[in-house]
Amino acid sequence: MANGNGRTGLKDRIKETNDKLWNSQVVGAILRPGSPFKQGYSDSPRNRSYVVMNNVLYHLHPVKVKRHAVKLSYTLCLGGLSFFLFIHLTITGIFLMFYYTPTAELAYVDIQALSTDIAFGSLVRNMHRWGAHLMVLSVFLHMSRVFYHGAYKPPREFNWVIGVVLLLLTLLLSFSGYLLPWDQLALWAVTVGTNMAGFVPVIGDQVKFALVAGVQVSAATLLRFYVLHVLAFPFIIVIFMAVHFWRVRKDGGISGPL
């Protein structure tokens, strides 16, 4: 495009580059056809659908939901907040992993360094800890909300079972993380907790042995809990969450009004 002087103005050049970028094959490959990012968004029923349909959101949400489902007083967003807290814990957890060594000699020193030396270390550690407590709370409240609404009734029985497994996994995640600071609080809280596992009839000792990697909590337990905390339990819980979210939609979305 040329202006009156026969030269290309800066504005035109920017526009030209912009057009080229948005029409490029790379952008075309990233954005699905019909994506509002590609074709612009103006408020219309069609575009409202496209916002959901043309990206990964479509795995989580249908295009339309029941009107009562968006009433804040019905769900209090508890399931969504549990999921958000999980994401939040994953992000802050990755940050903490950079500075943490799961050995009896270094673990405590690393946590101390996080609290004093590392930029935002204290903030991120606090967020991770309080986020974990809040997640236990929000998952429990979510379960209570579902119970009081009778939302576990057919066809949602199986999703309730999955939900109970998710609650258990949340507790295990929180509990396994409890040991990692390797201070007196962590050591003895986990000792108390794992002693309870020893009371399981018949296989109690074996369960405890597998959990703490020995007859009592030791340096080996730290590594075991670390791997369980950062890898094994998150892996399992993500699989169960995927089934949980899928079943929410397949069972007809959110349960009906009371």
Binding site: S49, N126, S144, W182, D183, Q184, T191, V200
Partner: protein, 302 residues
């Protein structure tokens, strides 16, 4: 093919009779295969077939408005466009002299076309080149279709639901940041296997169980309650509670039971967190202080 209700057949016959200018009874008899084929007195003017109702998927033409008692007949040419022709010239229907009810495959049809049967014997005596006409009648979908699914009152996920979710996300983030800035995570002395702190407490979500352990045998408090009641019992809830109603007034017992569970576990947890001191003996937090490190910083802002 299908049995057409008498009323519909009559309505169709009336429409056809009106279009052809012949008595209704004659058309009706012919439709039922009792009378002779109706002779078309003269070829009616061809109507614009492409805009005829069956072509429009699921949209109600103006003729099929709520008030119209007698449906407007629409003449369709034999050489109508494909969509119409398929509907009209169903060979089975033509052979058996039956009517064909064409619904919309998507199931959300507002109209369906009732096609009058083709005469078993083609009309004779027509001059060469004169094309016969057949009729489509617009009837209301509800008259011939059994609608099973009631439409839900639904709204778009974007923006209604997603804005609320985004608001909840922001609120939770703000809460987390404020908590993280104000309250510091506890960090006691390094782990020491030789120094057991007094008291030793589990994380708060297990403190209810630990509290239970001080009353009951470990086999009961440590095993039976958490695994049998807590885990398996909770998973079994949907299979034990066979009451199909979700209304609170119908499930008083279930709600009572769950509320007792919540109140009980909350009480046990609060006692375990606040009212247990040295040696896990009962103590008053306002007299002896709080023996729970996770809470230590909460009441000690800097």
């Amino acid at each position: 093919m299908v049995d057409i209700p008498e009323s519909l057949l009559r309505r169709s016959a009336e429409a056809k009779a009106k279009a052809l200018g012949v008595p209704v009874e004659q058309v009706l008899a012919e439709m039922k295969g009792e009378g002779p084929a109706v002779e078309v007195p003269q070829a009616p003017e061809p109507s614009p077939a492409p805009s005829s109702p069956p072509v429009e998927r699921g949209e109600s033409p103006p003729e099929a408005g709520e008030g119209s008692e007698t449906p407007e007949p629409v003449a369709v040419e034999e050489e109508a466009p494909a969509a119409v022709a398929t509907a009209v010239e169903d060979p089975m229907a033509a052979d058996q002299g039956d009517g064909v009810v064409e619904g919309n495959g998507a199931g959300d049809a507002q109209v369906a076309a009732l096609v009058s049967p083709r005469p078993s014997v083609p009309p004779t005596g027509l001059p060469e080149g004169v094309r016969t006409q057949r009729l489509l009648t617009v009837v209301k979908a509800r008259a011939i279709q059994d609608v099973k699914a009631e439409p839900h009152d639904k709204i778009n996920t974007w923006p209604h639901l997603m804005l609320i979710e985004f608001g909840a996300l922001l609120a939770m983030t703000a809460l987390l940041v404020i908590m993280a800035v104000v309250i510091h995570s506890p960090l006691l002395d390094p782990a020491n296997f030789n120094a057991t702190p007094n008291p030793s407490k589990a994380p708060w979500y297990f403190l209810g169980l630990q509290e239970l352990l001080s009353y009951f045998d470990p086999q009961i408090a440590g095993v039976t309650v958490p695994t049998i009641v807590g885990l398996i019992g909770f998973m079994m809830i949907p299979f034990i509670d066979r009451n199909p109603s979700t209304r609170p007034s119908d499930r008083k017992f279930a709600i009572l039971l769950y509320s007792i569970f919540i109140a009980g576990s909350a009480t046990l947890t609060i006692i375990g967190v606040l009212f247990r001191g040295k040696g896990f003996n009962f103590s008053y937090p306002w007299k002896d202080g709080i023996f729970f490190e996770d809470l230590a910083d909460w009441l000690d802002f800097e």
